[in-house]
């Protein structure tokens, strides 16, 4: 769900993410100033490097251990650091140096951060599951391509390959990420119920109760209407943007 939500509107140039050179913005807004552009380039380069570190870490751990179970532990720290660092993107939108909607971006980033901290970190038993690996791989590949894309767009030097990769690989990565996330939440449920994690029950002084188990189930159910919508929206975007580029190529 989080992967989906991040991948999809990222594909839509107007939502999360900087408007690249190849994407027409019908309102014709100016880009960020030179200082902001420099900062954004540095930010995107750092994030790309971070996710590359995670990718390399995964490959090394796999080669060292010979199996793909429990690879989460080898990249736990960089994953937490760089995914949480994506919170800065909300700030970018709020300040205005990135022309995206604050609400949409915060929704995406918060859902990722929620999965990392409130599910995977909090429920230790879930960390050795294969579903964690599923969404980690999906996120890693997606984020590397996306941050490459943003870096090159800001520098106005977007290679077609990166654009193609961003708008095509999601077809596989998106469902992969969503299934990984849902399976992780599902496997965390019994442990949450057993430990009464993050739950408050009546009676108490403030007459409030919260059942984290029910909340997680609600989160899972809310994915169901969202996923197909975003997926087909991304496919539509892909058709629009990639054919737009081909037309440009023909005329050149």
């Amino acid at each position: 769900m989080a992967a989906a939500v991040t991948a999809a509107p990222k594909g839509n140039g107007g939502s999360r993410g900087q408007v690249g050179a190849g994407e027409a913005d019908c309102t014709g807004t100016k880009g960020p100033g030179p200082l902001a552009t420099a900062y954004l380039v540095i930010y995107n380069v750092v994030m790309t490097a971070g996710w590359l570190v995670i990718a390399v870490g995964l490959v090394r751990a796999y080669l060292a251990e010979g199996s793909y179970h429990s690879l989460y532990y080898s990249i736990e720290k960089p994953l937490k650091f760089f995914q949480t660092g994506a919170l800065l993107e909300i700030l970018h939108c709020a300040v205005g140096i990135v022309p995206s909607s604050v609400v949409l971006t915060s929704f995406q980033v918060m859902s990722r951060v929620f999965l990392i901290w409130a599910v995977t970190h909090s429920v230790k038993e879930v960390q050795s599951e294969d579903s964690v690996l599923l969404f980690v791989i999906a996120w890693t590949i997606t984020e590397i391509i996306c941050y490459f894309f943003y870096t090159f767009s800001l520098l106005n030097h977007l290679p077609y390959l990166i654009k193609w990769a961003r708008y095509t690989l999601f077809i596989v990565l998106y469902p992969m990420g969503v299934s990984g996330e849902l399976l992780t939440i599902y496997s965390a449920l019994p442990f949450v119920r057993q430990a009464g994690l993050y739950s408050i029950s009546l009676p108490n002084k403030y007459n409030f109760s919260f059942d984290y188990h029910a909340f997680l189930i609600l989160v899972m159910i809310s994915c169901i209407p969202v996923f197909p919508q975003l997926y087909f929206h991304m496919i539509h975007q892909r058709r629009k943007i990639l054919s737009h580029t081909e037309e440009h190529k023909k005329f050149e």
């Binding site: 019908c26 309102t27 009546l202 009676p203 002084k205 403030y206 007459n207």
Partner: protein, 363 residues
């Protein structure tokens, strides 16, 4: 501009007529009379075109295009100079019956602001043919319907929870414990609050005849009904914990609640007075009624009193969900108050000295 066009056109016609006449006479003598009469009948005026005075009845033609496909939907013609956007919408409705006027959004350019109903065509027209872009604003409902739905729901929902229907609460627990008086008081106050809202919507507020998209109705109802269910569940729960400071807390907040309710009511009555609504409104002046003295400090005391009532209700029941509801309502009302405050400052600069929008001296 029109005069010149017409005289040029008629000149051209006359030239052609003469040319045509001479040619046909030379060519065909047999059918002279016939062709001549034909030409005479088809030609324009033989005498010089009289000077066309500036027509007072210049008609506009409005071309209505779909905002997304840019295709023409229809042409509204014979629109007089003094016609407004509202008249155009009515004519459009006659031509295309399914778009009733309140559902139609007309823009001068794609992505521009929607034109208000009172704007005249003359003020936006640059030529005799005006192009407007049409957007379907969706199914519309009147504001009164929206308010009635939003306020009736909480009233009934809270009572359902109060009566402790078996689905919601465990019956054994419910019958065993005696309810604290504050639970009954909370129900009573909650009902007073919403009954007052309903009566004011029906009899006091001069709601503009405007309508709003159906989406707003759904959203508003979802918000009010959802939150009311949530707070009613906790207050009427068998395991409800009464306030920590006991009767003192309840009494003080109850009195505060009643004061704020009365204040809100009097302010609403005052705002509904013809002097204070509509385009020629003047800023409300505090009178002998002490509740209206809030106008000296803030520009939107109705919101101030409403936030006050909800805070009192929260303190009285000491329930966190009510607090969350109060917080959200306060944020929403502050935004509305700020907007209104800006309008007031522009309009009534002299009255607005040292006034704040919603909370005295702070916001």
């Amino acid at each position: 501009m029109f005069k010149r066009h017409r005289s040029l056109a008629s000149n051209r016609k006359r030239e052609l007529f003469f040319q045509g006449v001479s040619r046909s006479i030379m060519k065909n003598d047999m059918r002279n009379f016939h062709s001549l009469s034909q030409l005479v009948l088809s030609a324009g005026p033989l005498k010089a075109t009289p000077a066309v005075k500036h027509s007072k009845t210049t008609h506009y033609e409005i071309e209505i295009l779909d905002a997304q496909t840019r295709k023409q939907i229809c042409m509204v013609d014979k629109v007089t100079q003094t016609a407004t956007i509202h008249d155009v919408k009515e004519k459009f409705h006659k031509a295309c019956p399914k778009w009733y006027p309140s559902r139609v959004g007309l823009q001068l350019e794609c992505g521009g602001p929607f034109l208000r109903d009172y704007i005249t065509i003359q003020s936006v027209a640059t030529s005799s043919i005006v192009t407007l872009y049409f957007t379907d604003l969706g199914q519309q409902v009147s504001w009164t319907t929206v308010f009635l739905a939003e306020y009736t729901g909480p009233l009934l929902i809270y009572l359902l929870f109060y009566l402790r229907i078996s689905y919601v609460y465990d019956m054994k627990e419910s019958t065993r414990r005696v309810r604290h008086p504050v639970v009954h008081l909370a129900c009573f106050f909650h009902c007073i609050h919403y009954i007052r809202y309903l009566l004011e919507t029906l009899f006091v507020h001069k709601v503009s005849a405007g309508r709003t998209p159906l989406k707003n109705l759904i959203q508003g109802c979802a918000f009010y009904w959802g939150f009311t269910s949530w707070i009613a569940y906790y207050i009427n729960h068998p395991w409800y914990t009464p306030p920590s400071f006991g009767n003192r807390q309840v009494t003080v907040s109850a009195i505060n609640f009643l004061i704020c309710e009365a204040g809100n009511h009097f302010i609403n009555v005052m705002l509904a007075h013809p002097n204070h609504t509509g385009n020629n409104a003047c800023f409300p002046r505090p009178n002998y009624n002490p509740f209206t003295w809030m106008f000296l400090l803030v520009s939107c005391p109705n919101y101030t009193y409403e936030i006050g009532s909800w805070i009192s209700f929260t303190v009285m029941t000491q329930t966190l969900p009510v607090g969350i509801f109060t917080l959200l309502m306060s944020i929403q009302m502050s935004l509305w108050a700020q907007k209104k405050h800006k309008v007031y400052v522009k309009k009534f600069n002299s009255y607005m000295h040292r006034k704040s929008a919603i909370i005295p001296f702070i916001l």
